[in-house]
């Protein structure tokens, strides 16, 4: 079993080991990379969208990257099923490394450190 952060209703979980810290976002003008959209824009549009700063938190990741996630997070212990070799090269760019069973159905396991943050700088902020 692996400890993960369950990101609101997005159906995405992030392994706890990837996260250095969870930080509040104080300046609405400084909104950064919204993780649900980076992983899957279609999925994000159907759920949380991209809310304002009060409904966001920032994940500071081990290694230095930073992404923003729904403030409504929970912690769970889940079994991560790694993606098969057939899917790994396809899903790698969006950080998806596996799937897991959540209370509401199957979810995606995303390691944001693997994300290709197109259009953003090293800190994960839009350019």
């Amino acid at each position: 079993m692996t400890r993960v952060l369950v990101l609101g209703e997005s159906g995405i979980v992030v392994p706890d080991e990837a996260v250095e810290a969870i930080e509040a976002i104080s300046d609405a003008a400084e909104l950064g990379a919204w993780l649900p959209s980076l992983v899957d824009s279609a999925r994000a549009a159907g759920t949380d969208g991209a809310p304002g700063s009060s409904e966001r938190r920032a994940l500071r990741l081990r290694g230095g990257k930073r992404v923003e996630v729904p403030a409504a997070m929970s912690i769970a212990e889940v079994e991560i099923l790694e993606l098969p070799p057939l899917l790994r090269p396809l899903a790698g760019g969006c950080g998806v490394v596996g799937i897991t069973q959540l209370a509401g159905g199957l979810g995606l396991v995303c390691d944001p450190r693997l994300l290709t943050l197109d259009g953003s700088d090293e800190e994960g902020r839009p350019s």
């Binding site: 159906g11 992983v39 899957d40 279609a42 999925r43 079994e79 099923l81 790694e82 993606l83 098969p84 070799p85 057939l86 899917l87 090269p89 396809l90 899903a91 760019g93 969006c94 998806v96 596996g98 799937i99 069973q101 159905g105 199957l106 979810g107 995606l108």
Partner: protein, 153 residues
């Protein structure tokens, strides 16, 4: 292709997808599931849209619907049957409407694709075609697809 059954014959498993009838080699089939929840994986092509949990691991979902002009699968719902297939080192689930009885056909009855040319036009690799109940049934060559076609379709 190495013989998979008795000399001179092959076991095939016909299945239906929409109005199309297809077949795979029966010995590649590990299990037939009913409707099964799956999850979409971003950045994947339409024919390989996601994954499902099977026997404690994740396996790829194969959807031939779009190639055949049918509506694509929409997670989390699958079609009525999910055929778990082993192809070399890959295990995947082919989502179809119905699975029919396994048949043994003579190798000589597997002809080059001709009447079922629609399947070649759909871009699906096939080993050939045969006739089952007076219907021409293409025999899918999923091995070619997971080998040479991996990640390209």
């Amino acid at each position: 292709m190495a013989p998979t059954t008795q000399a001179g014959s092959i076991a095939i498993m016909p299945m239906t997808l929409g109005e199309h009838r297809l077949a795979v080699e029966a010995l590649s089939v590990l299990e037939i599931l009913g409707p099964h929840e799956w999850v979409g994986i971003p950045n994947t092509p339409p024919f390989l849209p996601g994954a499902l949990a099977w026997r404690g691991r994740a396996i790829a979902v194969l959807d031939l619907g779009p190639a055949l002009g049918l509506p694509p699968l929409r997670a989390p719902s699958s079609r009525a049957r999910n055929v778990v297939i082993q192809i070399r080192d890959d295990t995947l689930s082919l989502s179809v409407d119905r699975v029919l009885e396994v048949l043994r056909v003579e190798n000589s009855a597997i002809r080059p694709i001709h009447a079922a040319s629609w399947i070649a036009e759909a871009g699906l690799p096939c080993k050939g075609e045969t006739v089952v109940d007076e219907i021409v049934v293409p025999l899918l060559d999923l091995e070619a697809w997971t080998g040479g076609g991996r990640g390209k379709r």
